[in-house]
């Protein structure tokens, strides 16, 4: 009876999946352990070098999990009591942080394995602040037809980068860090920022098969920012000012005429039966094309710019 139960259990899918998962984790653990051992063989004087590999593996996993979930590493002090219930000891934030470069290096090796000999697209963008951060992503379709996007570089620079500097950075990432052949980079994607445009044009000289892509959503957002709403913008700024104590910055209304505020109408289709529907329709058109409401012409002109 017991034997039969075991036979049934070992044949079920859950058991097979769990078994595979167990061996995968074991394999991964062994890899990490060997990385840790190799590192401390070369650097025997480094802190934590005298500890057992299992303890170090646990600390590695804790740091890795926190980083993956975007939890600040100093939270480890608060979680220490809970995490140490498993039996392995943790250490201070400073010593835990020493695992970060090692984890980053291993992640990079995994990414390198995934993107080796694959054709793909490089996506890049940066912040517009003085101290700039630039990120580069690699996107590819793997042999199983799954789209994969991987962060391949995140660099911070002291000053704002020019187009040429960005191009040089991309060359370094693609040719040196990722060991890509120029013809393997078959596309790039960017937003409408001029710096990215310069880098793209230069990149076209390097990569002969480069297909250019511009982020459509960014273009649409840009269109929205160019729609002029003079009174509404002023009203919103005044609304904000009413909560800050900066009366000197308060914009003064230009007109002094008053009118009673009326509630905004709900959308009504033009086919709504009214006593004189045709006249009503034409009146609306007349108003739309008058100079007092010039904004209505904007949507027709905006898409044509693209």
């Amino acid at each position: 009876m017991i034997k039969q139960t075991l036979v049934i259990h070992t044949k079920c899918d859950t058991h097979r999946e769990n078994k595979k998962k167990y061996f995968d984790t074991r394999n991964e653990d062994d890899q990490v352990k060997s990385i840790i051992s190799d590192h401390f063989l070369v650097n025997p004087t480094e802190a934590q070098g005298t500890l057992s590999v299992d303890t170090l593996l646990f600390r590695w996993r804790v740091v890795e999990t926190l980083m993956e979930e975007g939890i600040a590493l100093n939270k480890v002090e608060a979680l220490r009591g809970l995490l140490e219930r498993g039996g392995e000891k943790l250490t201070s934030r400073k010593h835990m942080a020493e695992f970060i470069p090692k984890i980053a290096e291993r992640e990079m090796q995994i990414v390198m394995g995934e993107i080796k000999d694959e054709k793909g697209c490089i996506i890049y963008d940066g912040t517009t602040r003085l101290g700039e951060a630039t990120a580069a992503l690699w996107r590819q379709c793997n042999p199983k037809f799954v789209l994969q996007t991987r962060l391949v570089a995140f660099r911070t620079t002291e000053t704002h980068m020019t187009g040429e500097a960005l191009y040089r950075l991309l060359c370094t990432i693609l040719l040196r860090d990722l060991s890509k052949q120029p013809d393997e980079v078959i596309a790039d994607a960017r937003d409408s920022c001029a710096t990215n445009g310069v880098a793209e044009r230069l990149l076209m000289g390097l990569c002969p098969a480069l297909a250019k892509n511009k982020c459509v959503s960014h273009v649409l957002v840009g269109t929205g920012q160019h729609i002029k709403l003079p009174k509404l913008s002023l009203f919103m700024v005044t609304l904000a000012l009413s909560l800050t104590l900066a009366p000197t910055l308060t914009p003064t209304p230009t007109s002094t005429s008053t009118s009673t505020p009326t509630p905004i109408s709900t959308p009504t289709p033009t086919s709504t039966p009214t006593p004189t529907p045709i006249i009503t329709l034409t009146l609306t058109l007349t108003r739309c094309t008058s100079s007092s409401c010039s904004h209505t012409r904007m949507p027709s002109s905006s898409p044509s710019k693209r």
């Binding site: 959503s217 509404l232 609304l239 904000a240 009118s259 045709i278 009503t280 108003r287 898409p303």
Partner: protein
């Protein structure tokens, strides 16, 4: 717009807003797409209660002199504000398209279709008031149709042209 960011962090204002408008004010972020638009749309939906909101701000002394300016501005330009807010609601197609095309999948395949939809709206903007229903309704409510009101109307075949004219007679259709 940094100021709006400040605004959304004021506790007293948040309380007043929720009390009057019946919903919490959306937070403003300068990096989130269409964040300003979100706020504007909220103002548009609660336009009828905007007057009361300013009254509450005045009553509770939130904002001092600036609230007075807000009141002056609202009284002087509420009509144009209403038009602009109606337009904000009508131009939501840009907002929707942005978020439709955002993502890591195969959105690229629908780009042409979605952009063409917006362009066709732009091309036919003058022909149909239904392209801007909110703005059309708001503008229409401002006009009193009477004998002598000027009109601009399209006549189909065989004329196929726009004609200017004026209302000569008002009749009730059955």
């Amino acid at each position: 717009m940094h100021l709006i960011q400040l605004l959304t962090h004021s506790h007293a204002f948040k309380l007043a807003f929720k009390e009057v408008m019946g919903e919490a004010m959306k937070t403003y972020s300068k990096i989130r797409w269409w964040s300003r638009w979100d706020l504007m749309e909220q103002l548009a939906r609660g336009f009828a209660r905007l007057d009361k909101l300013i009254a509450v701000l005045e009553e509770r002394g939130i904002g001092d002199a600036s609230t007075e300016h807000l009141r002056e501005m609202f009284d002087a330009h509420s009509r144009q504000l209403r038009h602009e807010l109606a337009m904000v609601m009508d131009l939501k197609c840009f907002y929707i398209a942005t978020y439709k095309l955002e993502g890591d999948g195969l959105e690229g395949l629908c780009v042409t279709e979605i952009i063409e939809e917006i362009r066709s709206k732009g091309r036919t903007l003058k022909d149909q008031p239904s392209n801007m229903p909110n703005l059309a309704a708001v503008l229409r409510s401002d006009i009193v149709i009477d004998v002598g009101t000027k009109i601009y109307e399209y006549y189909g075949a065989p004329y196929n042209a726009w004609y200017e004219g004026k209302v000569l007679e008002l009749t009730m259709e059955p």
